[in-house]
């Protein structure tokens, strides 16, 4: 079967209802074709379903968003929205489900190298209250101690308490250290709930970093040892190496996608945020996610080749700092004639390839692989200074000719409170660009009026500077 059964319409961002119409034209053969956990072909593992499906199961915010109208993006959305079910099916089919919390980059590389193990990030549940326009998970977190005025990542604690968003993990690995306090607090209370957590240290990035890499290697050894104990399987260097290669394949494609999407406007910001975060945990199925990213990359290349943009060349160019928990914000700026040309979504550690090729020494034990992962992790956004985060923003803004910077935050989020202003200061000192800082409001059907007004005024200012 070829994809010719379905011809993508001309590139555009479409509404929920428009996707409903487009879905009627998707042939059954395509719906039957895509399954998670390849080569599995069980009927429960299909995922090419429209936003309507997930909206009906409570993802109410999908009704307000705009989506790319390509098959590749529909495929991506179906896969991403399907993750909860996928995790339960993983457990039902004998896979080991490992919660990797807090490090946003390295731990899943190790976990996924183990045969039959699958890593997921409870952290990413922070979007769920927004997607569902619901306070259910926040209320559950509040009962356990984490109330308002803290990062939305507290939703993960609520999810652990509920046992309904992912199966009780076979192992919880919690990375903490030079990262985020709110999430460290979540992890501590998760330990209280589940009774046993493998704590992994996240070192601070300093000018003299030698010790940090070796510390991480030792920490990763503990992870390996624990997984070996759990699975009864000894991780071979070849398995770890293959795991790194699989990771790198995704990261390489995502880097190319970022270049095309942010450089040439061929994919919307919302889909790109989903893609970037896929680098963390591949939405719990690296094999199928890799195919999806390849599909997206093919789409982006084809659009570039045919001059099909989804976002106008004339759109105002923005760099976005800190991922917005409310995805509607990304749609809104695009609706108002802007586009995102760079991001600093606190996941630098997952965006660059793990440099394993240049390691020339003996590969007969896993140390080299772990060291390569550790070195790559040392690029992490949150473990260094705010100046370093700002430098990444400044570099992207210069490269893409950005006209403005948006720094979205969370009221009460520990690193937002301390570094939002500092980042803005550094950027202001380096570039003559307007900066808009705001905190993302609570989950709901709309963006709050004040934020809308501020975004409108900001974009107007950028336009007037042309």
């Amino acid at each position: 079967m070829s994809r010719a059964h379905y011809q993508n319409p001309p590139a555009a961002r479409v509404t929920f209802e428009e996707w409903g119409e487009l879905f009627q034209k998707i042939p059954d053969e395509l719906i039957e074709r895509y399954h998670y956990f390849p080569p599995n072909q069980e009927s429960w593992s299909k995922y090419l379903f429209p936003p309507q499906t997930f909206a009906l199961y409570g993802a109410r915010h999908l009704r307000r968003l705009k989506f790319d109208n390509s098959l590749a993006c529909l495929r991506m959305w179906g896969f991403v929205q399907n993750e909860t079910e996928r995790l339960f099916r993983a457990r039902q089919t004998g896979r080991r489900v490992i919660a990797t919390m807090g490090d946003l980059g390295a731990l899943p590389v190790i976990v996924n190298s183990f045969p039959g193990c699958l890593a997921f990030y409870p952290d990413c549940i922070w979007w769920t209250p927004f997607v569902m326009e619901s306070n259910v998970l926040f209320e559950a977190a509040a009962r356990l101690g984490i109330g308002e005025a803290s990062c939305f990542s507290r939703a993960a604690l609520g999810a652990f308490a509920k046992h309904a968003y992912f199966p009780d993990p076979d192992l919880v690995i919690a990375a903490t250290g030079a990262s985020c306090d709110d999430y460290s607090g979540v992890e501590q209370l998760v330990e209280w709930l589940v009774g046993d957590v493998l704590w992994v240290e996240t070192p601070l990035r300093q000018e003299q970093n030698g010790g940090a890499v070796e510390l991480l290697v030792e920490e990763y050894r503990r992870v390996v040892a624990r997984l070996e104990e759990l699975t009864g399987h000894r991780l071979t260097p070849a398995e770890l190496s293959a795991g790194i290669s699989r990771t790198n394949r995704v990261r390489r494609m995502v880097a190319q996608l970022r270049k095309l999407a942010y450089g040439q406007g061929v994919l919307p910001a919302l889909e790109m945020m989903v893609v970037e975060f896929g680098n963390l945990h591949y939405y719990s199925d690296i094999a199928e996610w890799t195919e999806i990213v390849a599909h997206l990359l093919a789409l982006a290349r084809s659009r570039v080749q045919h001059g099909q943009r989804v976002l106008s060349e004339d759109a105002l160019r923005l760099v976005w700092v800190t991922p917005p928990a409310d995805p509607l914000l990304l749609c809104y700026v695009e609706d108002r004639g802007a586009r995102v040309v760079g991001t600093e979504f606190v996941i630098n550690q997952a965006l660059a390839e793990i440099d394993f090729c240049s390691v020339k020494t003996d590969r007969s034990d896993i140390t080299q692989g772990l060291r390569a992962i550790a070195r790559s992790f040392m690029a992490a956004s949150l473990i260094g200074t705010s100046r370093q985060r700002a430098e990444s923003v400044i570099r992207q803004a210069r490269e893409q000719g950005a006209e403005g910077i948006i720094v979205s935050g969370v009221f009460g989020g520990s690193h937002c409170a301390m570094e939002s202003r500092l980042i803005a200061d550094y950027v202001r000192e380096a570039l003559d660009l307007p900066i808009l800082e705001f905190d993302v409001g609570a989950p709901g059907p709309e963006i709050d009026r004040q934020t809308l007004t501020r975004i409108d005024a900001f974009l107007e200012l950028l336009r007037s500077r042309r």
Binding site: E214, L215, E218, A417, M418, L422
Partner: protein, 371 residues
């Protein structure tokens, strides 16, 4: 002379003395929390002063640099640099990467106030694994080198051991005072202990230790009015508490005894001694790494164990848990504390503003009535 007046006099004399020492070329190094190795600072020939002031005006003033939802203590620190007599003496700041706010504070200080800072990285995870302690030792070596170059002096094992010995004396003195609270009618209150410790830390540690000895003698021998009945015995805990929070203690102590605490400006600073051993730097690393954990360390079960032990030993009937707004590490733990400690818990969450004091008083009174 009453203790309070004596402490005030000592404090102001010490500030004058520090000014003179500074003029004489000695460096005054401000540090923030109980993980900062004061022995190293002293051994490098500098004077360590703990930066432990909050305050409403200072916190407001700090809003120039930090958002309203940043830690009030961090904001107050920034506000205190230009105004507080101790903060104004500071030549450089040593901070330890503990909670997120505290670890980012030095960058803000450096950027906005142009004060040199040194950030020590301490593992957030508390299990004392060899590689973590080794890394902390490496951090202390980096600090020692930096201090040496900043202060223009060499740091030797001997000077380090001398510093360890004098600070141990200070800790021992504070522990002896604290142990008076074992009694049914303790001769010392928590607010007194807080004031005494603050001044003892500000003084040269030898002078501090002498002060503590004389105070101990005074408190043990003083004739106290016959105590009337037993009052509720409480433990205090939570985010950092400074003299700016003293009013809360005074409110509690009108009707109850605070006989134990979990504060980093209280018992946790002095609850054990540092044994120098053959390798003082390694001993220093192990001591600081393994001291009774701050709530922000992971896992923080060590702190819970310490709390259980204090409850048992000091016959504690209730916990007053005072957190600063946005202090995640401590405030997130409230339901867990209530669930596992087995004693009533009063949670007070506030910044340094003075507006809600009556409300806090009412809540304290209600809590004590229910005990």
């Amino acid at each position: 002379m009453r203790i309070g007046a004596r402490l005030a006099q000592l404090r102001s004399a010490r500030v004058e003395e520090l000014q003179k020492l500074k003029e004489g070329g000695q460096k005054v190094i401000g540090y923030f929390c109980l993980y900062a190795p004061v022995e190293l600072i002293r051994a490098a020939g500098a004077i360590p002063v703990r930066l432990m002031r909050g305050g409403s005006e200072a916190a407001d003033s700090g809003r120039r640099f930090l958002r309203a939802d940043a830690c009030p203590f961090c904001r107050a620190c920034l506000g205190n640099f230009p105004s507080d007599p101790v903060f104004r003496l500071v030549d450089a700041v040593v901070a330890v990467n503990t909670c997120d706010m505290m670890r980012r504070l030095p960058e803000v200080i450096g950027h906005h106030l142009s004060i040199p800072t040194f950030q020590v990285y301490l593992s957030r995870t508390s299990e004392p694994l060899p590689h973590r302690i080794d890394e902390f030792r490496r951090q202390l070596k980096l600090l020692a080198d930096w201090l040496g170059s900043f202060c223009g002096s060499g740091l030797t094992d001997n000077s380090l051991v001398e510093a360890i010995v004098v600070f141990n004396r200070l800790r021992q003195g504070l522990r002896r005072l604290d142990s008076l609270r074992d009694a049914d009618h303790p001769p010392i209150s928590q607010s007194q202990l807080l004031d005494i410790a603050a001044v003892a830390w500000l003084l040269d540690p030898n002078a501090g230790a002498e002060l503590l000895s004389s105070l101990l003698e005074h408190l043990v021998s003083a004739v106290r009015p016959q105590a009337v009945g037993l009052r509720p015995r409480l433990m205090a805990g939570g985010s950092i508490v400074t003299e700016d929070d003293r009013w809360i203690l005074e409110t509690i102590e009108e009707r109850a005894l605070v006989v134990a605490d979990l504060w980093c400006t209280g018992t946790r600073w002095f609850d054990s001694d540092l044994i120098p051993g053959d390798e003082p730097l390694a001993a220093l690393a192990r001591f600081y790494f393994t001291r009774t954990a701050c709530m922000c360390r992971r896992p923080n079960s060590g702190l819970y164990q310490a709390a259980h032990e204090l409850i048992r030993r000091r016959r504690v009937q209730g916990l007053v848990f005072k957190t600063l707004l946005y202090c995640d590490a401590w405030s997130f733990e409230v339901p867990r504390l209530k669930a596992v400690l087995g004693i009533p818990v009063l949670h007070l969450d506030s910044d340094y503003s003075t507006e809600n004091r009556q409300q806090v008083r009412t809540r304290i009174e209600a809590f004590l009535e229910n005990l």
